[in-house]
Symmetry: C2
Subunit: 237 residues, 2 copies
C-alpha cells in the first residue's frame, strides 16, 4: 500500500504530512508545501470512496509534485454508512441543496487528521497540511477555521511530541481562499489539474459528471480564475 515516489533530497528539510485526496484542493496544498521547502509525506485514506480514480489521482499527484513518499491507509469507513460518498444506497445530488449536504462523510476530517497525526508522529513531521476550505464548503462543519484550531489544540495534548514540547501544527492554507484563487495559486506553481479528480460521480473512464456540487465548484473556479479547465467531462444530453 506504500509507494515511494521521488527520493528525499536535503535530509535537514522540515517534514510535513500532507493529506492528499486526489482532488484539486489537496494537490494545491502539496504544491504549496513543496514550494515552501518542506519534505512532504503524502497520506491518502482509502475510506471506501465510490471511485477508485480518486486514489489513482492522488498517486499521480504525489509523484508529479515530488512527495518523498505516498502512503494509502485503508479504512472501511463505509461500515458506518450515513454518506452518499460511501453508501451506494444514498444518491449523489445533481442540483444544489441547502444545509449540510448528503455528501458529508461523518467526522471525515476528524478521522483524516487523526490518522495524519499518527503518521506525523512516526515520520517526526511537525506540520500536517490539509486542503479544507471554508468558502466553498461552508455546509461542512469540519471545514471551518474553528474546527482546525480545535484539532491543533487536541494534537498538542494527544501525542508524544506534544508532551515533549513539540506540538504539531495544522496548516490549512486554502481555508479562506475561493476556488478561483486556489486554482490561480496552484497554476502558478505548475500544478497539472488534469491529473486531479474532484467529481462525486465520475464514469468508468474517470470523466467528470459536470453537474454534482464538486464539479460545479470546480468548473466555476476555472471560469472565475481565468484558467483553462483541463477537466474531461462526460457528454450529457
Amino acid at each position: 500500500m506504500s509507494a515511494s515516489t521521488t527520493p528525499s533530497t536535503g535530509a535537514a528539510a522540515p517534514r510535513a504530512v500532507v493529506l492528499l485526496s486526489g482532488g484539486l484542493d489537496s494537490a494545491t496544498v502539496l504544491a504549496m508545501a513543496r514550494a515552501s521547502g518542506r519534505q512532504c509525506h503524502a497520506l491518502s485514506v482509502d475510506y471506501g470512496q465510490r471511485h477508485r480514480c480518486e486514489l489513482e489521482a492522488a498517486a499521480r499527484v504525489a509523484t508529479r509534485l515530488g512527495a518523498c513518499e505516498h502512503r494509502v491507509i485503508t479504512l472501511d469507513y463505509g461500515q458506518l454508512g450515513g454518506s452518499a460518498l460511501t453508501d451506494p444506497a444514498i444518491a449523489v445530488p445533481d442540483t444544489p441543496g441547502t444545509g449540510i449536504p448528503v455528501t458529508y462523510v461523518p467526522a471525515r476530517n476528524t478521522v483524516m487528521l487523526a490518522l495524519a497525526l499518527g503518521f506525523a508522529e512516526v515520520v517526526e513531521a511537525d506540520e500536517i497540511h490539509i486542503g479544507v476550505n471554508a468558502v466553498d464548503y461552508s455546509g461542512y462543519p469540519d471545514c471551518r477555521p474553528a474546527f482546525v484550531a480545535a484539532f491543533e489544540r487536541l494534537a498538542a495534548l494527544a501525542t508524544r511530541a506534544g508532551v515533549e514540547g513539540h506540538p504539531v501544527r495544522i496548516v490549512a492554507p486554502l481555508i479562506d481562499l475561493s476556488k478561483a484563487e486556489i486554482i490561480r495559486r496552484g497554476s502558478a506553481l505548475g500544478v497539472d489539474y488534469g491529473a486531479t479528480v474532484s467529481c462525486y460521480a465520475p464514469d468508468a473512464a474517470a470523466r467528470a459528471c459536470g453537474v454534482c456540487d464538486a464539479c460545479r465548484l470546480r468548473r466555476d473556479g476555472f471560469a472565475a480564475g481565468g484558467i483553462v479547465d483541463p477537466t474531461v467531462y462526460q457528454a450529457r444530453d
Copy 2:
C-alpha cells in the same frame, strides 16, 4: 463486519457508542453504560493488533453485556508503523520501563474517538464512552483528562450534531480509577473478566503471558481488589 447481538429494547433509551477493545477496561465501561440504562452501540477497531483474540473477546463481551450491536471497522494502522502493538519488528517488553512505552500506538485514542464520533453521528448517539485510564497508563499522552476534554471540545465543532446544538459528550468513567477499583466495579455489575483479553503477547490459545505491562497491571489489580483472577496464564519456567 457487523454483528447484531441482543436486540434493542426500549426505543426511547438514550444511545451511546462504546469503544470496545476486548480488554478489561472497556468491558467494564460497557457494563457501566448498560447499567445506566443506555442503548449501547459497541465499536471495535481492527487496527492490525497482533492478536485476533482481542477482537474475538470484544465480540463475546458485546454479546454478554447486551450491546444492541457490535461493529468492527478495519483500519490498516500498521501501515504507519511505530508501535510494538502493530509492528512485528518492535518487541513487546517483559519488564517495566519508564516514559512513553513502545506499546504506545501513535495517536491511537485520537483515531478511536474520531471513528466513534463518525459512528455516533450515524446512530445519533449523544455520548461516546471510552475506557481510558490516567492512573495505570500515565505514560500515554492520550489517556489524560485534558486530552479527553480537548476531544470533546473538538467534537462540538466537528459534527452536524454539534452545529445543530447537540454536541456529543465524551464519557471516560475509569479515568481516575485504579485497576483494583475498575475490577471491583465491573465484578459488582457481573462482568466475566475471563471473557476479556489484556495481554500484549498472548499465545495461540489466547493464554496471557503474565509478564507484559498489561498482564502485570491486570494481575496486580485482581490481587489489590480482592477478586479471584480468572485469567488463564501461560506456564513459564
